[in-house]
């Protein structure tokens, strides 16, 4: 015991020493899987890549207005079906070469190249048609059609032509671990972490010499480490641990709105779940207040809680959210039982059966969600259990989630607990449009509903914000009734940074967009 304490005190000093030097070290829940923007899959990927690359346009972290650091001037051309972009001069890549319009067009061509196996590029293939260099620093980017928000469609990171053999870019190139960008930091991925070294440029003067990213598993230990100044930042602090952080004077919680919302996707193609009434019954069976209280730690009636219930696929602060649709907070067992009985389910020996077969719900959850909402899977399982459903519970690794679930191969799962985070565009077409061609790319259970498809196409065709909002309001209403998802909540995300880290404005989603302004005095 005494030895343990002696070691611990030694440990604290050791942890403290680890934080010194002209570097800022921070923990992510997991290390980025790649530093190549074309293959970003996790939030950690997006955050890391934001340090290394410049996106053509981005949203200001504070005002949310559309901004750019590398475009000198731009104008729409060909009746809005194209945009002429002139890059600033003197922009340098991390390898010292200078950035030109050729790089911009190379990036576009690479994304359009079918040999680039990138889902992100695939997304742009529906938007971009081509790019041609017009003089040294100007390029004409053509769209597939006229968009009401053309520049918002150009949020991709620029890649250096010189770093690639061809426009067919694959994830296994050395570039994924040791990229060449034009962003404020030169990044290099190691086995245990990523080191970002400041790179002064015409458009970037980072105020921090080096960033060190390492993986921090147990959130509790992460919190203790930052309090001991073992690291200066933690990207994600689970709600349950936020009080510990607030209690320290040397660490501050920093909110960053990921516009991420949680859901339970329902296998609408599977037997009894195909019946809308059963989905509605499940929706009524859940006691969301209890889930939130036990998994997130929000007391009933708590003011400005980090977790707001939602009734559709948007966060309440979004312009697309339909406030007319109420949220379901408490369970209503009587109504849900009636709906189930109407749908032809029968209770035998306390548990539901369908056509004489006993029902055994197979419930899965994206494993990392457990860090943010501990026990959520078993809590949901238990509530359905109390409601009379036998079940099996499985966590699903992020990798497996990407491989099986998002590709519509969820197989015999009945319910899947997951989370979506929006980037620049709050677009849910990929989630709810029936699969086919470019549509419904992440439609988990291959949900297909013609009226939903129609509304989604209306949104796509919308030329004004109000038209787009109107379409999504109707979508919200339809989904809240048809329930391919049981919508849970928006959970705001908080980071913790040492108070010595100043002016650390955090951008939604991409996080480090304003890193140039960050300062750190020890």
């Amino acid at each position: 015991m005494a030895l343990r304490n002696a070691l611990r005190s030694a440990g604290v000093t050791a942890l403290a020493l680890a934080g010194t030097g002209a570097t800022l070290s921070y923990h992510e829940v997991s290390l980025p899987t790649t530093l190549n923007p074309l293959f970003a899959a996790t939030m950690s990927d997006y955050r890391s890549q934001e340090l290394v690359f410049d996106r053509l346009w981005f949203h200001d972290a504070v005002t949310n207005e559309l901004k750019t650091r590398i475009v000198e001037k731009w104008e729409l051309a060909e009746g809005g079906k194209a945009i002429k972009v002139t890059l600033k001069s003197g922009l340098k890549w991390h390898d010292g070469k200078s950035m030109s319009a050729k790089d911009l067009c190379f990036t576009v061509r690479a994304m359009l190249d079918k040999g680039t196996p990138s889902p992100i590029a695939e997304g742009y293939r529906g938007v971009l048609e081509g790019c041609e260099v017009q003089g040294g620093n100007s390029a004409l980017i053509r769209f597939t059609r006229v968009f009401h928000n053309p520049r918002e469609r150009l949020g991709f990171a620029i890649l250096p032509e010189g770093a690639f053999q061809s426009t067919a870019i694959t994830p296994d190139l050395d570039f994924s671990a040791h990229p060449v960008g034009s962003g404020p930091f030169k990044g290099s991925r190691g086995r245990r972490g990523v080191v970002f070294d400041a790179f002064a440029n015409v458009h970037h003067q980072p105020g921090i010499a080096q960033l060190q990213l390492s993986e921090g598993n147990d959130p509790l230990i992460q919190v203790k480490t930052i309090i001991n100044n073992g690291v200066q930042g933690i990207i994600a602090v689970p709600p349950t641990l936020r009080p510990d952080v607030s209690a320290s004077d040397e660490v501050a919680l920093k909110s960053y709105d990921l516009r991420s919302w949680w859901f339970i996707a329902v296998n609408t193609n599977k037997g009894f779940l195909a019946d809308k009434r059963v989905r509605q019954a499940l929706n009524l069976m859940l006691d969301r207040s209890k889930l939130r209280e036990l998994a997130i730690g929000v007391k009933p009636g708590e003011q400005n809680s980090p977790c707001e219930f939602i009734s559709g696929p948007f966060v309440q602060s979004s312009a697309y959210y339909n406030r007319a649709i109420p949220v379901v907070e408490r369970s209503d067992r009587a109504r849900s039982d009636k709906l189930l009985t109407d749908a032809g389910l029968a209770k035998q020996g306390g548990s539901w059966t369908w056509k004489g077969q006993s029902i055994n719900l197979k419930i899965g959850m994206l494993a990392p969600l457990n860090t943010e909402a501990p026990d959520l899977l078993s809590l949901i399982g238990n509530q359905l259990g109390e409601g009379g459903f036998k079940r099996v519970e499985n966590k699903i690794s992020e990798d497996e989630w990407n491989r099986q679930i998002l590709t519509g191969q969820a197989g015999d799962y009945d319910l899947l607990v997951g989370k979506w985070s929006f980037g620049l565009v709050e677009d849910v077409n990929d989630q709810f449009h029936s699969r086919g061609g470019k549509n419904g790319k992440v439609n988990i259970f291959n949900y297909a509903n013609p009226s939903v498809d129609t509304v989604l196409q209306e949104y796509d065709r919308a030329r004004t914000d109000t038209a787009a909002q109107d379409a999504y309001h109707r979508l919200h209403a339809t989904l809240a009734d048809d329930l391919p998802y049981l919508f849970l909540w928006k959970l705001d995300t908080k980071s913790a940074w040492r108070t010595g880290v100043r002016n650390n404005i955090i951008a939604p989603y991409h996080y480090f967009t304003e890193i140039d302004g960050w300062r750190y005095d020890k």
Binding site: L7, R8, A10, G11, A14, L15, L17, A18, S25, H27, T33, T34, N36, F39, A41, K114, G115, T116, P117, S118, P119, A121, E122, A168, T170, P171, D172, L173, D174, F175, S176, A177, H178, R189, R191, R192, G193, Q212, S214, G216, I221, T225, G230, V231, S397, D399, N402, R403, Q404, L406, T407, Q409
Partner: protein
């Protein structure tokens, strides 16, 4: 004694077989899994259309073709690049770091085990100490490993992997390997058992009456069994390295294999598993050679006939 060469021969054959069989079986497994190999190796969500990958990785030539290409590359030290675990990094590069690290780990773990063996052979290590080793050996590596990990974390912080932190992890891991799961206990008692059994043979007593020493008589006779035991011990350590390295975040082969497995990065798993197979094969060869040397030593006789 007439066909003393059979056992070494079997070992050599096994040694040749292992490094080929292991990757071959793994390759078959890739095809045995549900879904197409390309999307197993890199999920469409991250790699998009898998047709390109299939071609790049020669997955479209079926298991045989894939294995041929892989093996040909491997022979020239080209194990391809990591698709998932450490995207873009050459697997050969990872091996180049992992293999020496694991060898150092084994060497460090070998010190206490080796001392134990020598102590048992020479009788320096009293049999009274065996129960102590046994109790220590009952500890599973996960428990000792956690203790070691805690010490490292307290001393150097969670994110420290270089310099003295690296060595602390290595030494900690080595001690865990050496003492947990009965590694040392087994080595000591096993060796002691071998020698005491041999020393009880009548010829040893007679040799003493001839003024010879016990060890000079017993050592050559138990050598084959001893080498066998030692090989088993090293293999035991090698296998244990997987857990210990993953637990203490040591950049060795075991950790590489663990990472490859949880990321389903078959390129990495193939390479790491093959590296393990090669190490194990090397042990077999060492044992075979030792057996041959002993056999030749035993057969040694002065050239006679000349007078």
């Amino acid at each position: 004694m007439t066909r003393w060469w059979i056992r070494p021969l079997v070992r050599l054959v096994a040694a040749l077989l292992l490094p080929v069989a292991v990757p071959a079986i793994l390759t078959l497994l890739i095809w045995a899994l549900p879904g197409d190999p390309a999307s197993i190796i890199c999920p469409p969500e991250t790699c998009g259309g898998s047709a390109g990958l299939a071609e790049r990785w020669h997955l479209d030539d079926g298991p045989m073709g894939f294995f041929r290409h892989w093996a040909a590359g491997a022979l020239h030290g080209d194990f391809g690049r990591s698709w998932r675990m450490l995207q873009g990094v050459e697997v050969g590069e990872l091996l180049a770091e992992a293999v020496p690290t694991t060898l150092v780990l084994l060497a460090l773990a070998g010190v206490p085990v080796g001392l134990g063996v020598v102590g048992a052979v020479t009788g320096r290590l009293p049999a009274k100490a065996d129960p102590l080793f046994h109790v220590l050996g009952l500890m599973p590596s996960i428990v000792l490993g956690l203790a070691a990990a805690a010490l490292v974390q307290l001393e150097f912080g969670a994110g420290a992997f270089d310099g003295s932190a690296r060595w602390a992890r290595l030494v900690g891991g080595a001690l865990v390997l050496a003492f947990s799961d009965g590694a040392l206990a087994g080595a000591v008692t096993g060796t002691r058992g071998l020698f005491s059994a041999e020393a009880r043979q009548r010829y040893v007593g007679i040799a003493v009456l001839r003024g010879e020493t016990v060890l000079s008589n017993t050592l050559p006779n138990v050598a084959p069994a001893l080498v066998g035991q030692l090989r088993a011990r090293v293999l035991h350590l090698l296998s244990g390295a997987v857990i210990v390295e993953a637990l203490l975040e040591i950049n060795g082969l075991g950790d590489l294999l663990w990472g490859g497995t949880i990321w389903q990065d078959f390129g990495v798993v193939l390479a790491a598993a093959t590296a393990f197979a090669v190490l194990s094969a090397a042990l077999l060869v060492v044992q075979a050679v030792a057996e041959v040397l002993v056999a030749l030593h035993v057969r040694r006789a002065p050239a006679v006939g000349a007078e």
